[in-house]
Amino acid sequence: MERRIGRDLAIIVIAVMAYLAASLLIDNQYYQLMLALVPIWAIVGISWNLFSGYSGMVSFGHASFFGLGAYTVTLLMVKLDLSPWLGVPIGMGVGALAGALIGWPTFRLRGHYFALAMLAYPLALLYIFEWLGFQEVSLPMKRESAAAYMQFKDQRYYVGIALGMLVIAMAVALRIERSRFGLSLLAIKQNEPAAEAAGINTLAWKMKAIMVSGAMCAAVGGLYAVVLLVVTPPSVFGLLTSAQALIVTLFGGVATVWGPVVGSAILIPLAEILHAELGDKLPGIQGVVYGAAIVMVILLAPEGVVPRVRDAWRRRHARAEPATKSATPATTVGSSSRTVGDRVVLKVEGVSRAFGGLQAVQDVSFEVREGEVLGIIGPNGAGKTTLFNLMNGFIAPDAGRVVWAGEDLVGQRPNEICRRGLGRTFQVVRPFPRMTVLQNVVVGAFVAERDDEAAVALAGEALVRVGLGDRAQAPAAGLTNVELRLMELARALASRPRLLMLDETLAGLGSQEIERMLGVIDALARSGITVVIIEHTMQAMVRLADRLVVLDHGRLLAAGQPEAVTRNPAVIEAYLGKRWMKHAQR
């Protein structure tokens, strides 16, 4: 997306050719096997990385896919005399299917529960395969037409095949990383609700990721069976298989294309050589190496070897970026010059929602007219944010409807609602902190543009519109509060919304920053976007909004012109309490 993958692919091919050339020089059978195992585990790592590394949902169960691939190839050859050349692609199908079957129920879980559930799948499979009588299945030796059955006397052929698969796997990883696929997964990892609200169909991406990952892992599992010629349930479904996938990736660098490759290239030879030298005296030495590697990485360099080295290299070559200051657009904010139509675009009808005994929103109805800025105000705890969450699909109302363009939005997922033209921001800013400002906004643009390049262009435009054009390449983690809020606004804007829901966009800003923000919102409204904004400070709202809706204790207290609403005794009472009523009315 930002760079074409051609150059990276060329580097990969060169590196792989060099590796292959080096392996041709080695005659020792054991080292040849090891040379084949490095790309094999690198691919397992890449497959784990594609799912867990990018999406952040830690899988302890990739052995499921690996083992299913291995057994598919083996059993097809044993029972049906089918060559692994066909068995591996079939195994990929099995892996993808397993990914779907595992993902579908398990994606309901979050965090630890997800990780633990994933652990159970391969271990259950392990016992099931033992029970089925597949304790130890050997691949039949084919003396004639051995090559047609992927059997070679010279181990170096396997190195070649494994490297070929590695190139494909890395190309897939590059494609994913540089496309909306990878960026969507990263967005999910960093803030799933924000990704969903920005129009990313989080469930669909996660499903795709686990299916691609499962297919890739199954393919390499099949190759593993061919190389080792014998499959046992513990060797392919065991915990160490899942752990190795995770360990080579975390060691090398999570969510990087090269991470699993580098991790595998360091750890596999280390463990194998130690095993060969000391294995008879220290039988578990491999496991100790992997365990120690992962403990050290977590404690010393949690981001992994590749990012650590890359950062160090960049720091040495870094030039100080000139800090540019955005000029505050000096505009006069006022509702008078806007053109507000009479057409009602959004209708909230009798919406209610209770949490336990607390009636957070109770029978609230109002309309939003095309092109207007509608302010929703009310004291803390009045139910404003809950109302937004009901409108954009984060929570379902107990009763009532939200009608947008003649269609009831209730029951739709947030990403679908975003697709229909309702963008939103959050009271507590939800950036994707480890992405650049531009990437943050691009995530929002995917809904509006099918083409990735166009999405980037659209995101750039949105940044210019909010006055952050010069900060596009800055990491989001380094932004000031007002910049974060503007970035979030740009993200919502990049989905080409017809209606923007802004949740306390002014909260925590200084007076100059408020002016800057009001200017931006006003300009958006003038350009024809309908705005619904939550705020609890009256002053700014009276200037910005065409109409106000007042909530108190979950109920609609008043609605109408700002001047009328602010004189409404009920509103004053809600804000100030009964005691101050008299003073206020003087």
């Binding site: 952040g56 830690v58 302890f60 129920p105 398990t106 309901r108 879980l109 979050r110 965090g111 630890h112 529960y113 990780a115 633990l116 559930a117 652990l119 159970a120 799948y121 271990l123 259950a124 016992y127 099931i128 033992e130 029970w131 990892k189 915990l239 160490l240 752990a243 995770l246 360990i247 975390l250 220290l282 039988p283 578990g284 030495i285 491999q286 496991g287 100790v288 992997y290 365990g291 120690a292 590697a293 992962i294 403990v295 977590i298 404690l299 949690p302």
Partner: protein, 319 residues
């Protein structure tokens, strides 16, 4: 007659389930305590169980406890001594490794902050299991006493044909587990240190303001959790042959029990473990032995997917 045999089998499985399940309950309490206080899912808990088994075994044979104290008391004393060693190991591991990824700093962060802990304990688990293989060898062992092959007979109950046999080693394990679990509950509920642990678990930040050393509380909780599971391990060792990879067989049982009891609830963890024991033993009535463990995994998955807050949990906890 068939009905009689069936009844006998069911009663037998029930009795075995309760005996074995209580030991599972104790190991679950260990894992649950660590999670409940530190919010760390300890992957290495199964390996601490394994170390508890070997510690008990070597103390039992090395100190000649079987001859000195007899088959009833000997293994129990060896187990408790072994647990003391594991307690020290727990303190050391917390001090050197876990402390760096847990504590106040992490407690407040979203789930991303918890992955390093999970992965760190995975690393510890791999090291312990494989170092165990190097040190102890792969030969299955057990704490051999005459009790593992003898039973108390309850009955005959109906007529002369129905009686339930309680394996003596399992029965002792059951008694020890129940007593230790009760002692822990009293400790948590009544003592000052127990209250400290609960405070640190409930709100580490507020606990700090109240003058509680949260790191120290975590250390104690971790070490006690390790020791409790080690006691369960020592008891299992009296009736079940084990090798260094045995932890993996039990770690899923523990997860299942803890999830079943509601993550974070220590009492629930015991009942969860007991339930898993019953499921495991009753499943032998209908399933082949090889699928016993698969059955546990399936039960575990069903629980996590259908009712992640646990059967005994009061409310769903979001982690």
């Amino acid at each position: 007659m068939d009905a009689l045999i069936l009844t006998e089998n069911v009663l037998q499985a029930l009795a075995a389930g309760i005996l074995v399940g209580s030991v599972y309950g104790l190991m679950c309490v260990g894992l649950g305590l660590i999670y409940g206080v530190m919010r760390v899912i300890n992957f290495a808990q199964g390996d601490f169980l394994m170390l508890g088994m070997y510690a008990a075994l070597y103390l039992f044979t090395g100190l000649g406890l079987g001859a000195a104290l007899g088959p009833y008391l000997g293994p129990a004393v060896a187990t408790v001594l072994g647990a003391a060693i594991l307690y020290v190991l727990g303190v050391v591991l917390h001090q050197t490794l876990l402390r760096r990824v847990t504590g106040i700093r992490v407690a407040g962060t979203e789930s991303e902050g918890h992955y390093p802990q999970l992965i760190l304990t995975l690393g510890i688990s791999l090291i312990l299991a494989n170092a165990g293989l190097i040190v102890f060898g792969s030969m299955p062992q057990s704490i051999r006493t005459p009790l593992s092959a003898s039973a108390w007979e309850i009955g005959p109950l109906v007529g002369q044909n129905l009686s339930v046999f309680l394996n003596k080693a399992r029965s002792i394990a059951f008694l020890v587990s129940v007593v230790v679990a009760l002692a822990l509950f009293l400790f948590i509920a009544r003592t000052r240190l127990g209250k400290t642990l609960r405070a640190a678990a409930d709100n580490p930040e507020a606990a700090t303001y109240m003058g509680i050393d949260v790191d120290a509380a975590y250390r104690v909780a971790f070490a006690i959790g390790v020791a409790l599971t080690a006691i369960a391990g020592g008891m299992v060792a009296t009736y079940y042959p084990f090798q260094p990879y045995v932890g993996l067989e039990f770690v899923i049982i523990m997860y299942a029990g803890v999830v079943l009891g509601g993550f974070g609830s220590i009492g629930g963890a015991f009942w969860g473990g007991l339930t898993i024991g019953l499921v495991q033993q009753l499943s032998t009535l209908v399933l082949p032995v090889q699928l016993q463990n698969a059955a546990i995994f399936v039960v575990f998955l069903v629980i996590v997917l259908v009712r992640p807050e646990g059967l005994f949990g009061r409310s769903a906890e979001r982690i």
